[in-house]
């Protein structure tokens, strides 16, 4: 156990002697040593936690006005927009907050990949992060269903139907998920209940994520361990100040969207009330799912697994099932990343080939997103397939291979050293 902080205020001391919350706060957010060379890419973890709190607060206020029933959900959302005091602000903050959350978390994730933040001793920290991403996806998907617009309904129908690809029990599972024979009132009710529950689960996993990062300490752009006290600065005031700069810059962007183009990330079809008898011409998920949607649709009908199993006399893996497996695998593969990368150099700054590969991967994610936004026809089919193969090859072939054959550039001896040397 670390030493306790001495407080002057008797009340604080009284509490701290019995429950050392103030000591904890002092250690973790005041004195806590941070590598002094962190750049602004290290802002995004703090930003994500701010967005999470904002989503919880706006979400609870919206829940007080929302009615989870197929006949009233759409109207109750419009009532919030029109008749509830500042309801439009709450709803636009929440709706765009979901997009902001994913923007921030995706950048946070890419930053972790670039600087090798997933490597020893931060594997568990990374795994908790991937769990958070998965939970966020489930939560946002169910949240998108709640306004009960056309895309809500048809998106829910498409995604829940994916489970029907599971051999033998698929259809029963889908019926069980729906609570009936189509997406209907029971589905809306359970999605609402889960959409309320999951953010608190996210909050708990975020707490573990934060505890874990306070055990290992933050990684840094050089990817080398902190060696001497000179390498670090205390969290406060150095990183409270630096995080504030990032936070206000982010809020400027967030506010610009909320106040001047609040439907930028949305689909116009979701302002049409759900109609089970009328399918929209293009069913598209929210932008943050587009790369995964492209992977889902990338598996061709006559792919090798289906061919082999049907040659055996039955089709065990249909193209649909293979697509679903590929989509889930695209996230699952992130769990294995700490062990797929064999290099003991963390930062891509000192890994010339890995560095180039990383940027190819980022580009590939954007390409997949673009493919996901377009109908699966013509050139998009092939671009989607190539992009999907590249996605998996990046993790399963390129990263392991490069990590074994690449010669890293010489690492600086310490976080403080290189600059001191240059000056000398």
């Amino acid at each position: 156990m670390t030493t306790r902080t001495e407080f002057k205020n008797p009340l604080i001391r009284w509490v701290d002697d019995r429950l050392p919350v103030f000591t904890y706060l002092d250690h973790e957010y005041n004195q806590f040593p941070m590598p002094k060379n962190l750049n602004y890419w290290w802002n995004f973890g703090a930003l994500a936690s701010v967005v999470l709190v904002l989503m919880l607060v706006t979400g609870i206020l919206l829940a007080m006005q929302y009615t989870p029933h197929v006949d009233y959900a759409f109207e109750s959302v419009e009532r919030i927009m029109r008749d509830v005091n500042y309801g439009w602000l709450l709803r636009y903050l929440h709706m765009n907050g979901a997009s902001m959350f994913f923007i921030v978390v995706f950048i946070h994730l890419f930053r972790g990949m670039y600087y090798g933040s997933y490597k020893t001793p931060r594997e568990l920290l990374w795994i908790l992060g991937v769990v958070i991403v998965l939970l966020m996806m489930a939560t946002s998907f169910m949240g998108y269903v709640l306004p009960w617009g056309q895309m809500s309904f048809w998106g829910a129908t498409v995604i829940t139907n994916l489970f029907s690809a599971i051999p033998w029990v698929g259809d029963s599972i889908v019926t069980w998920l729906w609570g009936g024979f189509s997406v209907d009132n029971p589905t809306l009710n359970r999605f609402y209940a889960l959409h309320f529950l999951l953010p608190f689960v996210i909050f708990a996993v975020v707490a573990l994520h934060v505890v874990a990062v306070h055990i290992t300490g933050s990684n840094n752009p050089k990817g080398i361990d902190v060696q001497v006290p000179r390498d670090t600065v205390p969290f406060h005031p150095y990183f409270t100040a630096k995080d504030s700069v990032g936070l206000v810059a982010f809020l400027l962007f967030f506010a610009a969207v909320v106040f001047f183009d609040p439907n930028l990330f949305g689909e116009p079809d979701n302002y049409i009330k759900a109609d089970p008898l009328q399918t929209p011409t293009h069913i598209v998920p929210e932008w943050y799912f587009l790369p995964f949607y492209a992977i889902l649709r990338a598996v061709p009908d006559n792919f090798i697994g289906g061919w082999v199993t049907s040659w055996m006399g039955f089709t065990f893996i249909s193209a649909k099932l293979a697509g679903v497996i590929a989509m889930f695998a695209s996230i699952m593969v992130l769990f294995a990343l700490p062990w797929l990368d064999r290099s003991n150099v963390r930062s891509a700054r000192y890994r010339p080939i890995h560095n180039v590969l990383f940027w190819f991967f980022v580009f590939d994610c954007f390409v997949l997103g673009w493919v996901g936004a377009n109908p699966a026809e013509g050139m998009f089919v092939w671009i989607g397939r190539i992009g999907t193969v590249w996605y998996f090859a990046h993790f399963l072939v390129f990263i392991p291979l490069v990590s074994m054959i690449e010669t890293p550039r010489p690492l600086p001896a310490s976080i403080s050293e290189p600059v001191l040397k240059e000056k000398a």
Partner: protein
Amino acid sequence: MRTIRTLFIAFAGVLAGAAAVWAAGEKIDIPERDWSWRGPVGSFERAELQRGLQVYTEVCASCHSLRLLAYRNLTALGYGEEEIKAYAANYEVKDGPDDQGEMFSRTAIPSDRFVPPFPNQQAARAANNGAYPPDLSLMTKARKRGPDYLFALLTGYEDEPPAGIELMAGMSYNRVYPGHQIAMPPPLFEGGVEYADGTEATVERMAADVTAFLAWAAEPELEQRKSMGIGVLVALGFLFVAVVLVKDRVWKDVKK
């Protein structure tokens, strides 16, 4: 008979869907218009909204509902309480049950929602050759580039379809509608309404006015949102300068 008609409507729906998919590949040019409420400081013009309400009332409202709006909302258009009471009084609402358990009709009051032209979807379809005139409350938000699209649609009718295109019974040809066959007959004609403010009622004028009115109906919060947004951005701008100064001061003595 009922089943056959339902089947026919379903089939027409599938056809329209297929046509829309086909049309999605085709590039339809929808010109951009300079709406008064565009841009960070844009706002609605009250005279335009009032004329738009008149077009909606005299033309659109015979088929299209505006369910999400209440008469009281019209205060935002610059009408007084008495004017709104008088406007609402043109409509009858079904209310009840009274203390005898009977439903009854009464004159609409400002707190009522806009009374729809048809009691239900079936009645609307029956009166419109099987087509369902959609509710207009959110129309400009429910289409890509909504206001531009709506204006282009209202001014996009042609008397004769281009050579080689056979219109289905009861359909009209429209340049911008997906698939080009639209069940709504051309709604606007030169001088179709007599504007209370004396403005000349050209088709373009009426289309622009009613588009403005529906844009307001879809986003009644727009002006409050934008003016609040300016304040928020200015405040955050100052705060940004402040936190940058603080950060530089704090980090001044840290050797990189």
